[in-house]
Chain length 396, copies 3
Amino acid sequence: MEVLERCGYGFGFNLSEGLGVLDSSKVKRLFKPSLSWLLVFVPVAVALRFWSQPRNETALFVCSCLAVIPLAGWMGRATEELAERLGHGVGGLLNATFGNAAELIIALIALSKGLTGVVKASIAGSIIGNVLLVMGVSILGGGLRFREQRFNQTAARASATTLSLAAVALTIPTVFHVTAAGHSGGWSLETEQKLSLAIAFVLFVTYACLLSFELITHKQLYAIDSTDDSEVGKRAEGWSVFKSLLVLIVATSLVALMSEFLVGAVEAARSALGLTEVFVGVILIAVIGNAAEHSTAVMMAMKNKMGISIGIAVGSSLQIALFVAPVLVFSSYLFGRPMDLEFTLPEVVAVIVAVQLIFQISSDGETNWLEGVQLLSVYLILGILFFYLPERTEAG
Amino acid sequence: MEVLERCGYGFGFNLSEGLGVLDSSKVKRLFKPSLSWLLVFVPVAVALRFWSQPRNETALFVCSCLAVIPLAGWMGRATEELAERLGHGVGGLLNATFGNAAELIIALIALSKGLTGVVKASIAGSIIGNVLLVMGVSILGGGLRFREQRFNQTAARASATTLSLAAVALTIPTVFHVTAAGHSGGWSLETEQKLSLAIAFVLFVTYACLLSFELITHKQLYAIDSTDDSEVGKRAEGWSVFKSLLVLIVATSLVALMSEFLVGAVEAARSALGLTEVFVGVILIAVIGNAAEHSTAVMMAMKNKMGISIGIAVGSSLQIALFVAPVLVFSSYLFGRPMDLEFTLPEVVAVIVAVQLIFQISSDGETNWLEGVQLLSVYLILGILFFYLPERTEAG
Amino acid sequence: MEVLERCGYGFGFNLSEGLGVLDSSKVKRLFKPSLSWLLVFVPVAVALRFWSQPRNETALFVCSCLAVIPLAGWMGRATEELAERLGHGVGGLLNATFGNAAELIIALIALSKGLTGVVKASIAGSIIGNVLLVMGVSILGGGLRFREQRFNQTAARASATTLSLAAVALTIPTVFHVTAAGHSGGWSLETEQKLSLAIAFVLFVTYACLLSFELITHKQLYAIDSTDDSEVGKRAEGWSVFKSLLVLIVATSLVALMSEFLVGAVEAARSALGLTEVFVGVILIAVIGNAAEHSTAVMMAMKNKMGISIGIAVGSSLQIALFVAPVLVFSSYLFGRPMDLEFTLPEVVAVIVAVQLIFQISSDGETNWLEGVQLLSVYLILGILFFYLPERTEAG
């Protein structure tokens, strides 16, 4: 929950779940060209949306996807700058709440248009994307430079166990559906929604407990890597509260606009590209929404700070499962289109597999390149599965 | 397998799977008021059964449930006093065999009345109740007083792995049913029963091996916590063999009587309360049958003896899965109503989830309060699932 | 990937996945009588096949099964002698590729005759046979002589995690079938085969990465046990390249001949013995194909070299899952009868269970006899399941 230090015009990363301090100048030089130039797609998307005739939905979808990536980064950066000004407790809470704000906004807009299938797929996809893809690339990247990389086991285990809990919670509604469908009373959508609402509530409370653990009772477990960091002196260069708020508001508005375009064009685009709803949700939207975390986690791993890298990737998965998913369930009632937490069998299997593998890999407190390859292989195999799955006729 | 030392009139706890020695006077003062006064429900239940007109089945069910709790405690106490007199080997065996005698009696009576569904649900419920609820409250309670609690990993791992084996064994008949139903030969009840009988036999032999491991070849793994206990001197105050046998006979008879009432009233009571068969079995009966273990495990955790606490809770689960379940299968043939070991999908999922979580939490040899919250969250989520599940039409 | 040293006429063991050096003279004396005399079944099988009238298919099946066991051992021996002459890198590759050649030959011949069900069952059976039966007997055997046996955790964990990946890969086509069957597009055999082909390719690449890890980047992890071995001086007694090649060619030809008999007689034999296809594949063929590994692994465990023992058993499972299975899928296209990787539910469950248990048991770096009993119990329970399963009407 440390704050990143960079010069005022650098590119921001969502480090809400990260634990350390970047040495800013190198980062800026390294990453600015690779992500910030994507901001050019913001005006391109606007142009495509309002002035192109006939409207090219696929191009609009691609451009708004690409535009979300750097905007999510700016939102993360602004959140962290603000968090620093507000002090450890409130700041940590802010980070923990707005860390996946971009994904939340996309999902909320999709939800308001009734795309429940895509939203649920993107929840599952964010979890496996962070755990398998982001972690896999990080461990492989780090492992190619360092023979072995070590990290604090206790913190990694606490996260992995909470992730198992989340996987259980997201499995139960599916178990309910399968079982209830074969019983005399039969399955009813209403009971499914009540069940999901109750589970969402339990997850939300668990998230509050996890935050207390991380921010209050056991905060030193999460602070190990940052104390001996030589870059702390640069903290003075941070943004003012006003600047942070301004960037946050502008970036959030633009993310909302791009999400509006993205969600509006998704149906037309995916039929043009021949992709199924579940593939778009599980793979595409999940990768886009987590691109900023992705680059930061990989960079940390390359610097042999594997603990921070795992903290970012697993922490982001946890935030999706324990905070974003319940908030989406609660919000769906405001839209008048209740969303349950029943996932399809492949989504459930994918989440269970991802959680089990990250537990196996993180429980010994060290990683090597082969473990990165293993995570990526599983991600690839799951990606192949979702690619070949035919369109589903009804949710679940 | 140590023997508890308490003054002659204190309340007894089932410590059959426990490893340590209580300091008696405090215990007595702490717990006597909370459990022993429940004995008042023995005469109340008798009165309700024989003299109330018209009979209130719900009240009878509730009273006999409450009456079983202290009686189960007295049975455990008497078993342990007797075990002490008979020496380590025979005594350990006695404890291991009669440790869950109250649950066994309830289940046998239910079995003789053909309530196979409730019996199987209570087997699954006892396992998850001990592993998630008892362990969860213990770890949370201990964790609120102590930052970190440590215990012997090897013993905890041996138990967790045996529990995994048990989970596999209880899953196989369900896998058989699902697979066989789709094959040409088809599924037949007879084959299901043969399969269950063979599995019950394997479990029973494995239990014998586990006892040899705990009581003979690796007994020092289980004796660590008790040797340095300062209360050993109080052992002289124990019961005589005669007194132990007398208490055992009286308590067992009363448990049998209360179980008779309980089982007789369960059908009427649960329809009055609007609860399903599986909810009653998995949650209610399991909690009642394990209340004594529950209070002891929590108390041990509060005293920072987490090893004993885990030993009690996981040991009780093991005893249910490897001893009580096979004995019930064997007994069902005596009643002429063979019981198979086929569980419903939610029961199987619940057991697998519980076993996986306790493995994750116990494998690092330390606990903190968050892990208690995690176990309780999962118990709550499973409880919600069982609450919303509609009544099943046929077993399995 | 070390080379075994034995006198010229001793019996060879397939140590392709083994890591150490046997002390030859004792081994020869101990094992020659128990396996080499099985070579007598080679001429017996030939006689039964060509001269007995009417042909007794069951006797032919049994004899050719028994004849394969020592031949597989000789193939392994010759491969290793050759590997030694070719140096560490190429030799390691040779071992890794031909280590399960006997099983590969049996499977290829079965595949060419369209026995896809048996082939897939034998893949699953080899994995669980190595992990549960071979490991179980080894740990139990070693544990009866030594109180605790320790081994290198990092190597064991890398193998266990790769095995988890393999289990995931072999589960996915089944998940695909179940899910796709319920969707609008429906399930098609063609998509299933494409999916399986893609997964086979990922597994194959992962195997190449695993070999690089074991033979190149982290080879010292796998070399710990062999360096301090006092038998290294006997290495001079090894075979010449010519002799190795000659033995390899003769043994391979005979294995192919025996496999031809075995596969030709399997259908008639199993109906005569009343066994199902899946039981023959999962239990019988898997045990026969792995008998040589089996004896070596147990012997190593009895000598307190548990690391080598685990290396052999888990390594053989990995080779089956990541090398033999993909090669069979690729080869099936040459035969014009494409094989997919869709396993039946019991096969999938068996593999997942085996992998989970070996992870739990190997992750703490020590074993005791109870863990051996646990693995064998689970193998027995799975064997009971496969024994009682009725014949399946269609694949999957």
